[in-house]
Amino acid sequence: MFFTQLPFWGFFLPVLGASVLALRIFGSQTRATILLLASWLFYGLWDWRFLGLLILSTVIVWGLAFRIEQAQAPRARKGWLFVSLAFSLGLLVLFKYLGFFVSSFAVLMQTLGLPFGDDWVLRIILPLGISFYTFQTVGYMIDVYRRNLPAERNFIDFALFAAFFPTLVAGPIQRAADLLPQIRTPRPVVWDDIGRGAVLCLLGLIKKIVIADALAPQVAAVYGAPDPSAVGGADVIFATWLYAIQIYCDFSGYTDIARGVARMLGFNLKYNFLQPYFATSPQEFWRRWHISLSTWLRDYLYISLGGSRGGAAKTDRNLMLTMLLGGLWHGAAWNFVLWGAYQGAVQVVQRWTGRKGRSPGQVIGGGIIGHLRHILAIVLFFQVTAYGWLLFRATSFEHIVVFTGKIITAPLTSSGLITTPSIPGICGMLFLFLWDLSAEWSKDQRFYMRWPLVLRGGLWAVMIYLLAFGATTASSAFIYAQF
């Protein structure tokens, strides 16, 4: 049941109605119970087998948080934190990484000529959204350990925080300090929430259906070519650019819909993307891309490793480790590890050059020359980001080597694999560019609110028309739902 499918809206609208009525008639606890049951139902409809795992994990984490809170001695607190992390991350490793480690070990044994079993391949099904809800609850436990947050007494409130259905499958990763207060003391849903939520959903659907799904076949034609060595360098470059747009629209589209749905239910979720391809440096990129993950990694991993304390070498090491683990978080495959290493390396290189990343919206220089330098920096840094996406999208190490070689040795050669995207896809990309440019230029994600009502009505009409224009493309699963 994807956000892009009618059954989801058939599920959501009654939940919205029940949630609004429950809050008005019975109060916050009934609303939380309804939303929790809806969230568990939503998860169970994906795969009921793992609903038990989600509930079990929620119960255990909820209980362990009390232990962490109640332990007075630092060693005992640390011990309970260790137990709770071992449990949560252990589940993640078991379901997401064990098969990968075992098969990698088998490959290593084979390479070294040592004996290994033919059946050393584990086929473990990945529970949906496990990376997202694990990071969410791990963040909560660390917050309790750090005494930034009291352990949540109310199980229903905590379980809803862990399983809130708009964010359950692919984030954004929520902080307990942000979401739990909104669960405990909800504000009544007003028409403005419905309107703002609907706009976010509309934007997200355009990104996903009109753009990402339209570009998917073009990208797959190159990255799924049966013989990668026959692919031209120009095909690889163009397909990688398209993939950069596809993954941005796919993931930020999901986030927009998640934020929109949550908004209609009366929740404010933070921005997860701020026009990432307007970044001019790696540091700035990570302030704009998947912000909930990058800030999570910063607060719970990078800082725990020592952050920038302890000198340049240790800072570089911490950055590399953080990004490596961030890469591995995406999936149990070496290309994700390589992507993480690449992201770490470009940040380390940036540090070595002594350049500091801009904040989103900050212009490089004044005047025409300054703006031209800014645009050039954006275009050049996009190439750095896009190469990272090549590592991310590739299906094997050999694939990466062959495609990288093609980009270097034959950048202008095409084997005719790339075709022009569909008319709606092109219109969608143009629309999104103008949208992101307006948000960037005005330094306001809701730039349209300054427009007169008639113009705003026109904008929504254009968006609805655009969605209908591109909705002929069959919608596919969200990329980040597999993580």
């Binding site: 008639v454 009505g457 009409a461 254009v462």
Partner: protein
């Protein structure tokens, strides 16, 4: 709340204005763009347009009706010289036509007689093969094409039901397994182009499609009066194609059971084609065409083991054109000339014609 109502009203007003503007622009737009918007017209709307203007580009009103096709075949057969040698008679669609054209390029003296329908489903191809039996001679080669993307239409009576964007109205029977008797044939209420003007038959066929067609999708046929709105056409295209794909997927995922056990039906058809051809001293050749669409049924695992076990000659296009290799296909989904040339050589190698 008043502000929200104003926003909703402004949006609806703008949507209507935009729709009228798009409709006006489309009257002067390039043909490609107009066609893009026209794809979303309702099926009755498209058929009515074709009936109004027979010379309209892409008019499929009068193609592949079986009585006309068989009458033409009989005339052609009567005019043939019986001593001219074996003729390759193919039953299929544009894919088999293009393959045979490539074969003729490689071997210009080859005589070919074709029977094809647009995107023809195996039930169309099989029924033409059966009904054209008297128009074949001893020694002829029978090429029987199966297109993977059309396999879900085994449960359908007409392209108008499942090819939403180009709903050619020609009809064909549905064949279902019937125990030890083989396949049971259910003929459509409309069989000839002339029936399209008979209100009784039209009503009967309408009821038959609703009741028996596995791919019947109401939204493709509903509310033709709203076809004037480009916005409605876009919405209809999205919902109708999505619903049809979902029904096709429902068939595809149940090869041996469900509403249309397509694997069993295909095996029975192919076995019957081989049997009849051999009884008539003809050479059967089954062509398995795996389309670019990787979601369509996989023909090889379903049919090749049986074809090999029973010694029925076959040619599978996936040997040359991997469905994931976009360079093997044209933008419209057909195989490239280069691929057809290679397949033609293989076909000649299988036939070993003198």
């Amino acid at each position: 709340m008043l502000r929200q109502i104003k926003v909703v009203l402004a949006t609806l007003f703008a949507l209507v204005v935009l729709d009228v503007m798009v409709a006006l622009v489309l009257t002067r737009a390039p043909a490609g763009l107009s066609a893009f918007f026209d794809y979303g017209r309702s099926v009755p709307g498209k058929i009515a347009q074709w009936q109004e203007r027979q010379d309209r580009p892409g008019n499929l009103l009068n193609v592949a009706w079986q009585p006309e096709m068989l009458a033409e075949s009989a005339t052609h057969f009567a005019g043939e010289d019986p001593a001219s040698g074996p003729i390759v008679r193919h039953y299929g669609m544009s894919f088999t036509q293009q393959l045979l054209q490539a074969t003729q390029r490689a071997r210009p003296d080859l005589m070919v007689d074709g029977h094809a329908g647009p995107g023809a489903s195996p039930n169309f191809v099989y029924s033409v093969f059966l009904d054209d039996r008297t128009n074949r001679r001893t020694g002829d080669v029978v090429v029987f094409g199966i297109l993977s993307s059309s396999v879900p239409a085994l449960g359908s009576f007409s392209n108008r039901v499942w090819v939403f964007e180009q709903p050619a109205p020609f009809t064909y029977p549905i064949f279902r397994p019937d125990g030890l008797k083989g396949l049971k044939r259910t003929d459509p209420a409309i069989t000839a182009h002339a029936d399209m003007t008979d209100p009784v038959k039209i009503a009967a066929f309408d009821a038959q499609m609703r009741a028996e067609d596995a791919l019947w999708t109401p939204q493709a046929f509903a509310l033709p009066a709203l076809d004037a709105s480009p916005f409605v056409r876009l919405l209809r295209r999205a919902t109708a194609t999505g619903a049809i794909e979902s029904r096709e997927a429902n068939v595809t995922t149940h090869p041996e059971d469900g509403t249309m056990p397509w694997a069993e039906v295909l095996r029975l058809m192919v076995r019957d084609v081989a049997r009849i051809s051999r009884e008539d001293n003809q050479v059967p050749l089954i062509v398995l065409i795996q389309a670019r669409d990787t979601a369509s049924p996989q023909l090889r695992p379903v049919l090749v083991p049986m074809l090999e076990a029973e010694g029925i000659p076959y040619l599978a296009t996936d040997e040359v054109a991997n469905p994931r290799d976009t360079t093997a296909f044209l933008s419209d989904g057909h195989l490239t000339t280069a691929v057809n040339d290679v397949l033609a050589q293989r076909l000649l190698g299988i036939l070993k014609l003198p």
